[in-house]
Symmetry: C2
Subunit: 457 residues, 2 copies
């Protein structure tokens, strides 16, 4: 019944845990703003002190940007690396906050108490769930739960410029049996999830030039090539009538959905009507024949993120534009190769270019998809632990977005990652009035305690 004692300790000491989180939330660690450099340093110091107090061998480690926090404990059992980030998003527009973003407070809401502050959910509240689980474990067991490396970053909200160099320089130290990443959400209010696949991303900006200046469409319309027309044809050709992407070789490396995952996902009862209804839509727009969750989690996409050409102001100008531009991105899954897809896109555009047009390409990032092998026993152990804690059983799910850290753990350190988090869709991360449910925090701590118990079982 030691697990029960740990859980009891967590329940009994929740207020103290919330007070600690409150202290951390008061630190204005906005990583993208140079004016908050010292605040980022202070957040790292706070974490080092807290972790050292728990018995971790904890250090603030310098980088060219904001420092990393690395903390280690010894012991038997599987070695886990836990990742979170202590930096937060900027707070503007400040006038849309109901109260100051760095004066955290517990508020009662219709769906229960929340702690409201910038970073409450993303990611200070989440990372502290793990730290508090370790604290309770230590209080009951007298030792930390086995060999753990804690790895906190301070640049996640500003592009993580120091992350890869730091990981490359400290690879042996950071390599563990499995990584735990706490920066995602519940699948639904009562349904915990382990994200086992994340989509990758390739972005590209293209500019097609026809005439060397904007022309009068009366004088030149009909005889001069219009680059906006060329661009719309190219962009329209990227999908066929079934919604499938037509880029040659695009689906190379896209795996079929495994039967067991398909069964799990079908069982999830994803409410696509509610999901789409929240943004004014109703019809899943992906490839014919795919489940709605497949469209977001396991299918690649091609999206126009922006486009512009000619006169875009009020009224009308009969201009025949010189240039037309678009920002296009591809979400990748499975083994799709970002570099090959970028090359295929270049070829696709170039092949459709009339003799009188030229094209300029500007690349914007390239990251492959992350697909975890769930063979490591930790996956089933964590799933069982989460299912014990929450009303509904935990699921292996996908995530449509790209969380590069999971890819780096795989490619640089050879580790699979379990992405487990307790955020809710309405947490307003990156927006005014960010909050974290006290239930997310409380049951999050309990969830980690259960997971650590299973991993050490």
């Amino acid at each position: 019944m030691t697990l029960a004692s740990v859980l009891d300790h967590i329940d009994t000491n929740l207020d103290a845990a919330l007070n600690r989180l409150t202290d951390l939330l008061k630190i204005q660690s906005i990583s993208t703003d140079p004016a908050h450099k010292d605040d980022c340093d202070a957040a790292a110091d706070w974490l080092v002190a807290d972790l050292a107090g728990l018995g971790f061998q904890a250090e603030k480690r310098p980088t060219p940007g904001h420092p990393m926090v690395v903390a280690k404990s010894d012991g038997a059992g599987p070695h886990v690396l836990f990742y979170g980030h202590y930096d937060v998003q900027p707070v503007d527009p400040l006038e849309l906050w109901d109260r100051p973003p760095f004066e955290p407070r517990i508020e009662q809401t219709a769906t229960g108490p929340v702690i409201r502050a910038r970073g409450a959910s993303d990611d200070k509240g989440q990372l502290m769930t793990f730290v508090e689980a370790c604290r309770a474990w230590k209080a009951v067991h007298g030792t930390l739960p086995g060999p753990i490396t804690i790895f906190f970053e301070g640049e996640e909200e500003s592009g993580s410029p120091s992350l890869v160099p730091f990981m490359e320089a400290n690879a042996p130290e950071l390599t563990a049996d499995i990584a735990l990443i706490c920066d995602t959400g519940l699948f639904a209010d009562r349904v915990p999830a382990i994200v086992t696949q994340l989509r990758g991303l390739v972005g590209e900006e293209i500019t097609i030039t026809g005439p060397d200046k904007d022309l009068h469409s009366g004088m030149f319309g009909g005889i001069a090539i219009n680059p906006a027309r060329v661009l719309t044809r190219i962009l329209a050709d990227l999908h066929d009538d079934t919604g499938r992407i037509t880029l040659p070789g695009f689906y190379d490396g896209v795996p079929p959905l495994p039967d067991d995952l398909r069964a799990q996902w079908e069982g999830l009862d994803f409410d696509h009507a509610a999901f789409l209804g929240g943004v004014g839509l109703s019809v899943p727009a992906g490839e014919t024949g795919k489940m709605p969750v497949e469209m977001i989690w396991s299918e690649p996409t091609c999206e126009i993120n922006g486009m512009w050409s000619g006169y875009t102001g009020a009224g009308f100008k009969t201009v025949l534009p010189s240039k037309a531009s678009a920002k296009v991105s591809f979400r990748l899954v499975g083994q799709q190769d970002p570099d090959r897809i970028r090359a295929a896109f270049h070829d696709f555009v170039t092949a459709r270019l009339p003799e009188d047009c030229t094209v300029d390409f500007a690349p914007h990032g390239a990251s492959p998809a992350s697909q975890m092998s769930t063979d490591h026993p930790a996956f089933e152990q964590a799933r069982a632990a989460l299912s014990d804690e929450w009303p509904d059983a935990a699921a292996f799910v996908g995530c449509g977005g790209s969380i590069p850290i999971a890819g780096y753990f795989k490619t640089l350190l050879g580790m699979d990652s379990m992405l487990i988090g307790f955020a809710k869709d309405d947490d307003q991360i990156h927006s005014p009035n960010e909050k974290y449910d006290v239930e997310s925090f409380h049951k999050g701590i309990r969830s980690w305690a259960r997971i650590l118990d299973r991993l050490n079982g």
Copy 2:
């Protein structure tokens, strides 16, 4: 030999004619700028006084905007209405002018003397060619050249808001056998032209809305409809692979090019390589099988004048846009009906709209094409007269742009128009350093004298 006397008089008195034009050019009749309301009035007064001095019954006629000038003469022979406009474009950016725009001066250039000032070519210099021809005629003959109505507008550069109401209210007075419009150019430096067809114009702005807010393309990409993708498909579908416009019924009312006009146009030796080369292009982009001049003069077009969606700033945002917009215009020829084409475009867009998208339309103007019947003997008389004056024979040509006045003369007053002008492509109308070649002015006056002589022959 009376025509020879008139031409001699023109040659001998050219300096006096240039001095009169200089006086008119000094008046800052910028119609779109309320600060220049009195200047517009002064230009009308100047013209009324000059025409009255020539023996016309001349009046300044009020409108809700700037006044019209209407002047009449009696006599035998065909009744012609001559149209021009005394208002001018704004002068900004002023710093790009080499000298003050309302201090006209004769300058020697590599290609001969020019008179440089705002309005020199558009349209004060042009309208004075006709007035000076009447003056020389009067000096030699003692009378004006037959029944003439002169009709000068002061709002052409600001959308002509008073034009149609004034024409409707004064239709009998303004109706003649044929209209002469002096607001176009030579076909080439030595080749005069009579424009016998002008394209019409229908403009429409469309905005397609998908999600009710911009979305994150990671969370929603693949399941949420992207209105930019919908828009590009619609716009791309507007042309087939041969460059033909696919709107159902679009070509209803597009006449085949008559054999005689085709022969004339083939004889023009239009240098499309030079025309396109001047704007960085080389390949005529219109429908397969059409002559380059057909593409501009007698073929309808569909152009994207502007489009925009999503994130268009520097860098990259993986936004899935809520809206996508475009400004689209159609140049019309023959009997194409602007209203039917607008309706067909609406239907075309609506039919391609997925269930989850809505569209908003905003109309921007609708004018039919003007195609003159050249049956009136004045057309051949004027062509012969112009051919006598200029080194090369005159041609009936088209004009890709839209000059609404010709359409109004046809629809409101039942008159065909002969658009005859002497501007050159390098006159920089609407731009800094506008000029009019002294040769255009001089031979323009002589051209009208010859035309009036033929019409009264």
